[in-house]
Symmetry: C2
Amino acid sequence: MVVHDREPFNAESPRAALRDRETPLDAFYSRNHGPIPRIDPASWRLAVDGLVERPLALSLDELRARFPETEVVATLQCAGNRRAGLIEVRDIPGEDPWGPGATSTARWTGVRLADVLAAAGLRAGAGHVAFAAPDVSQLAHPPQPYGGSIPVAKAVGPEVLLAWAMDGRPLPRVHGGPLRAVVPGWIGARSVKWLERITAQADPSANYFQATAYRVLPPEADPSAAGPGDGISLGPVALNCDILSPEADTRLPPGPTLITGYALAGDDRAVARVDVSLDNGATWTQAELDPQNGPWTWQHWRTRLDLPEGTVLITARAWDSTGAAQPESPAHLWNPKGYANNSWARLRLACRP
Amino acid sequence: MVVHDREPFNAESPRAALRDRETPLDAFYSRNHGPIPRIDPASWRLAVDGLVERPLALSLDELRARFPETEVVATLQCAGNRRAGLIEVRDIPGEDPWGPGATSTARWTGVRLADVLAAAGLRAGAGHVAFAAPDVSQLAHPPQPYGGSIPVAKAVGPEVLLAWAMDGRPLPRVHGGPLRAVVPGWIGARSVKWLERITAQADPSANYFQATAYRVLPPEADPSAAGPGDGISLGPVALNCDILSPEADTRLPPGPTLITGYALAGDDRAVARVDVSLDNGATWTQAELDPQNGPWTWQHWRTRLDLPEGTVLITARAWDSTGAAQPESPAHLWNPKGYANNSWARLRLACRP
């Protein structure tokens, strides 16, 4: 793991670990805003309340017994993924320089949030489903437990889980055990870990991490002065890709070289094509797309190109199912908190015999 | 109207007509692939067949009597909108140089496709809903009536209509009367006019305009050799915007000048921000967003900037609700049929006192 902080613990997957269709459990990225809570599964209960007909309080055993078990393979991606590319444009003080590894894929087991909401009975006026956790973040203003929300339309999708297992093993504490939300296709921040409370409500969560953080502010904004509602609130992940091999800043012999990477289209869109260029986008070669592991995962891609001698810049970009492509330059996407960098992927190499 | 062809009739809305929240009926863009059919509403019937429990044959009166009347204000946008910007990069023989006016907004009245499909009873295995029309296109290979399809997940959305009225008036023949599909947020090609048959089926339509046309081919492809399944099939519209005032290539005095335009996010996304630049994207001013006329319409925007003397290049770009922005350059989006140009909007002016 590439560890950015010890407390709160923030670490990204190394590029090599991202080459598997499912990320090894011990290499799955970890993004935290406070201390990792220690929860006693025996006394833990999940509360479901707010705009519901029948508030619930469920133990893990009750949750498992009452609702059908469901498995979804899903990629999670942090909104700060690839922030390093924005920091190269202009510094972003106080935020970690995540590379492409704030992204990982796992097989999640749990129950559908939709089934739990149906059992509770959503009442008229329920527009959003808020998640609350016990980890108090000192980074929030004021310090508060972590939380967030998603609109009801997403919450009732069959892909949204309350998960107690990851790759067939009990959900590790660092990944939200005993229970977390898994919201495929949305920024990882909405897949709330150590889930304790689900509240149906009219409006999005007023929690700091929904109302103020995880927002694209205009370049001239002062993030320390940003208040609730400022900027673009992030939900679905934007189309993105990065290069996984060869390794960056390595020395390779010139000649035919396998270039691989991942792409992710976000929410209900699909990756339709990935192009790779050796001349900064003047000409492109279409990469081959690997078989995809279900609709909620990344799309691995590969191509073999003849690398010339000297300094080589490899560029990659993805297209989605609307015929849209990633934007070219991180300079035009720079924002004060460094979110949603989905500019072309670039990797520099020295090719010498 | 800016008329591109008389036969088949293809004409776009002038920029001035796009400044209204709803486009005047006589200025709504018209995109056709064959002669405009003359249909006798008295003998016309809509067939609903394929993977359904109860095939239907409905007159217009039966359709109106049997299902609740619904109104949706929706923007339609042709996949070839703003092709002119791609043609400036490299010629696209045989395709019309549409400007920003292959886009218009109307208030549509009809019934929900979802209600009609529910009455027919979709059978297991129905993945797509195909639309068929009688207008035979000589541009198809081989010549054939126009058709297309949308996935069932979109077809059952409350926004998808079978419409018989536009702005409260009977649907004009040129816009698909007596009945057309209206698929908000998707390329106009799927809002099939002169609708005669709706078929539930496992796969997308095999019609030329679904299987072969309306696809983003890679730049090196020979479009005359493209076959079914090649390229990226277009469905949801990609994030886009253009500048509506001042008029292009006009001469204006320097000084504070109102700049307006439209933006469209496509399908279930929203326009979150629009930026305007006078220095080709080095710095941006956030435009003010007008009140939006419902979730399925474009987003008008406006800002007042101090234009300097000399040649002025105004640039605009939109951001959507995923925090994604439009890509910079049409050169990187060029494709052999000229679809889905959603690069930054640019408008050149001469400012002289």
